[in-house]
């Protein structure tokens, strides 16, 4: 089996086969590239343009310069949503990765039924965000009712409810990635460490974790971008409620950035451009954070 695969790949990389493929690579690439342009690149460019415009529907856009950005920065609810999102991201990144790694570590030890557990832990990931949001709001409300309160009674419940929901949903997914990483560490290496007298925790921190750094890079990247882009769950679980008046301004206590952009758009046509400007700022923020994080964790990866 192993041998046959090597023969196949040798065939593919032979000049005879590679040259014609290289010549007409454009044909293979073109359909996807066209889809990418239509579905991503063009809307993205149009989106940036619209963030400088006042518009109800895109074809009536009128150029207004930077005023949308000025309005976005002045909007207290946007700033509040930013800090909410930042806190949420930090907590959920740590929580999800630590728990996912711990479960993956436990399930790669030789134990009975580990396949069943892997399946069960992964399953929440298969349910859509909106459905999860509604299901969990019922669960939380049923529990909180025993204490004479409810989910949207204050910001704390809603915030931690969202953390629990997202952890429940994403731990299984990250666990699979960690399991793949853990399985790629050769038994010989761990055995060698043991023979050299390394303790259990030394094996974990000095051997296992450095060797799963690629998985950690991927998982922190995914959890970071997922938390910043969180929308469905946020909308379905609390919808940003409770909404309260604070110092003469209105604040949706559990609203994250994406939901804030969405509700900005719905105010009226003078806010469509502002929502668009917020979305551009949001993109820059997420891209910068994600690239920064990739650079930081990549540098810690070890060559195997």
């Amino acid at each position: 089996m192993q041998k046959k695969r090597r023969v196949d790949s040798a065939h593919v990389s032979s000049q005879l086969i590679r040259r014609p493929i290289q010549k007409c690579f454009a044909i293979f690439l073109l359909p996807t590239f066209i889809c990418f342009c239509i579905g991503f690149l063009w809307p993205f460019i149009q989106g940036i343009y619209l963030s400088f415009c006042n518009f109800n529907i895109p074809k009536d856009a009128k150029w207004v310069g930077l005023s949308n950005y000025a309005k976005a920065f002045k909007d207290a609810s946007f700033v509040h949503a930013f800090w909410n999102t930042a806190a949420f991201a930090v907590i959920s990144i740590v929580l999800i990765n630590v728990l996912a790694f711990a479960i993956a570590y436990a399930l790669t030890q030789k134990m009975r039924g580990s396949n069943i557990f892997r399946t069960v832990f992964f399953m929440p990931n298969l349910i859509g965000g909106v459905v999860l949001g509604y299901i969990w709001s019922m669960i939380f409300d049923a529990i909180l009712k025993r204490y004479g309160t409810y989910l949207t009674a204050n910001a704390t419940y809603g915030f931690w409810g969202l953390v629990i929901l997202v952890a429940w949903q994403q731990i299984g997914y990250m666990m699979i990635i960690y399991i793949a990483g853990l399985q790629s560490i050769s038994d010989e290496m761990i055995e060698a460490a043991r023979i050299d007298g390394a303790s259990g925790s030394q094996v974990l921190f000095r051997v296992v974790i450095p060797n799963v750094m690629p998985s950690i890079t991927i998982c922190t990247f995914l959890t970071l971008t997922n938390s910043f882009k969180m929308f469905d769950q946020n909308m379905a679980l609390t919808g940003g409620m409770p909404s309260v008046m604070m110092n003469g301004a209105k604040v949706n206590m559990t609203e994250l950035l994406a939901l804030n952009i969405y509700s900005t758009y719905n105010i009226n046509k003078n806010w469509h451009g502002v929502a668009q400007a917020k979305a551009v700022l949001f993109f820059i923020l997420v891209a910068a954070l994600a690239i920064g994080q990739l650079v930081a964790t990549r540098s810690k990866e070890v060559q195997q």
């Binding site: 529907i57 019922m138 009712k145 949207t152 909404s243 301004a249």
Partner: protein, 430 residues
């Protein structure tokens, strides 16, 4: 294969050219319908019109709650832009003024009975015409009311309503039903209170100040919020529902409670008629709608809350022949036998000269109150600035108050109502 492909492409090209050519000759109508429950009736009516006149009428209904998104995307594309669309309120006029035809000289505009259901832009040009008005109040199961030893005649103001409700609530165990169906605060139900019930204090304040729908005041004072509290206290007290569980109570639960005969009173509007008589099999003879009393002086003369968010606007940027076709279609709807029959079957109040009486008993109640000289509470809540956001704040405060009805929590409701209004007004106009 190549030949086959080119054949298909050529065919498609020819066909689309043909389609364009034929459409340009007569003009066609595309109606983007706002009311999902009336979709089938509109489709059927469109077919009849096409059979009679040969003019193509396309009716598309936006899924519930997505009308503005659908309208936005459809208008964005000149080929698919609707020729008739819905504008609900003053904020809709702000958004769509550039696209709404001046209706002054259209035939359908001349068929209206009065100006109560006309939406005008800032210059006073009529831009949208209400084609039906709706009424809401407290729906009563008169059979249960009699079973409890009371009658509708007893209820003429807040005190008499409270006396009846308190009595039923006190004897709920023995009677097997309670006074009010649950005032749920889930998103599917809370609009009945943050929107409709809130209209009562808003209306009385408007009336004192001589304002009208469309006045769009920057601030309100909340003069009648104590009355709002009175009726709200009644709702959350004289009900079988536990006040702390209201945050998740849905509209369906509340409707089922009433439909299954577990509650005598149910605050909602005449659009419930089809559901109550159809799905729940209630006898129309046992249904009535009474005004929402809240202890305001002279409220013995109150009628129902009537208004509309269903107004036709004609797309002024459509092709001239399509605009003409749309005007003709609407005129036919409000004057022809088929059209007026359909309106009478689907809607409760129809503000046109040739309107047939509606089959909806709640609509009949509304007309009866008006005929008896009672004042109608117009829909002041159509003026709510940034409406979803304002309501969310009121719902938050009202839910907290229901779970723990203290004066401190009521102050939060007042704050959400009054300060929230001023704040949202500044957002919308900022």
């Amino acid at each position: 294969m190549k030949k086959f492909l080119s054949l298909i492409l050529t065919l498609a090209l020819v066909l689309s050219l043909a389609a364009v050519a034929s459409a340009e000759e007569t003009g066609s109508v595309y109606y983007l319908n706002f009311k999902p429950e009336a979709d089938q009736a509109w489709q059927d009516l469109a077919k009849v019109y096409t059979e009679q006149t040969g003019v193509e009428v396309k009716v598309v209904t936006a899924a519930s709650g997505t009308y503005s998104d659908t309208l936005n995307s459809q208008m964005g594309n000149a080929d698919s832009a609707p020729t008739i669309f819905n504008i609900g309120n003053a904020s809709g006029i702000t958004d769509w003024d550039d696209y709404a035809l001046d209706l002054t000289d259209t035939a359908v505009f001349g068929e209206r009975i009065n100006d109560d259901y006309v939406l005008c832009n800032a210059e006073g040009t009529p831009k949208a015409l209400g084609y039906c008005y709706e009424s809401f109040g407290i729906i009563v199961n008169t059979a249960l009311l009699e079973q409890a030893g009371h009658s509708l005649d007893e209820i003429t103001n807040f005190d008499s309503l409270k006396a009846v409700a308190d009595d039923i609530h006190a004897r709920a165990g023995e009677l097997g039903f309670d006074a009010f169906s649950a005032p749920g605060m889930d998103g599917s139900s809370s609009w009945r209170y943050s929107g409709h019930l809130a209209n009562v204090p808003l209306y009385y304040e408007y009336k004192d100040k001589g304002l009208n729908v469309g006045s769009l005041p920057a601030e309100i004072e909340g003069t009648y919020l104590d009355n709002f509290r009175k009726i709200w206290d009644l709702y959350i007290t004289d009900t079988a529902a536990d006040p702390t569980s209201l945050s998740t109570g849905t509209g369906d639960q509340s409707e089922a409670e009433f439909g299954e005969g577990k509650a005598v009173f149910y605050q909602n509007g005449d659009w419930e008629y089809a559901n109550l008589t159809g799905n729940f099999g209630m006898d129309p003879a046992n249904l009535a709608m009474i005004p929402i009393y809240c202890g305001v002086d002279g409220e013995e003369n109150a009628g129902l809350n009537s208004g509309t968010e269903n107004c036709w606007a004609i797309n002024s940027q459509a092709a001239p022949e399509d605009i003409q076709a749309s005007e003709d279609f609407l005129y036919w709807v409000v004057t022809s036998e088929e059209g007026t029959n359909m309106l009478a079957e689907q809607f409760s109040g129809i503000p046109f000269k040739n309107a047939k009486p509606s089959i909806n008993v709640f609509g009949a109640d509304a007309s009866e109150y008006a005929a008896a000289g009672k004042y109608t509470l117009f829909w002041a809540f159509n003026d709510t600035p940034n409406v979803d956001s304002w309501r969310a704040t009121v719902v938050t405060a009202l839910t907290a108050y229901s779970a723990d009805p203290t004066d401190g929590n009521w102050d939060k409701v007042v704050e959400a109502f009054v300060d929230g209004w001023a704040y949202e007004y500044s957002v919308v106009n900022g």
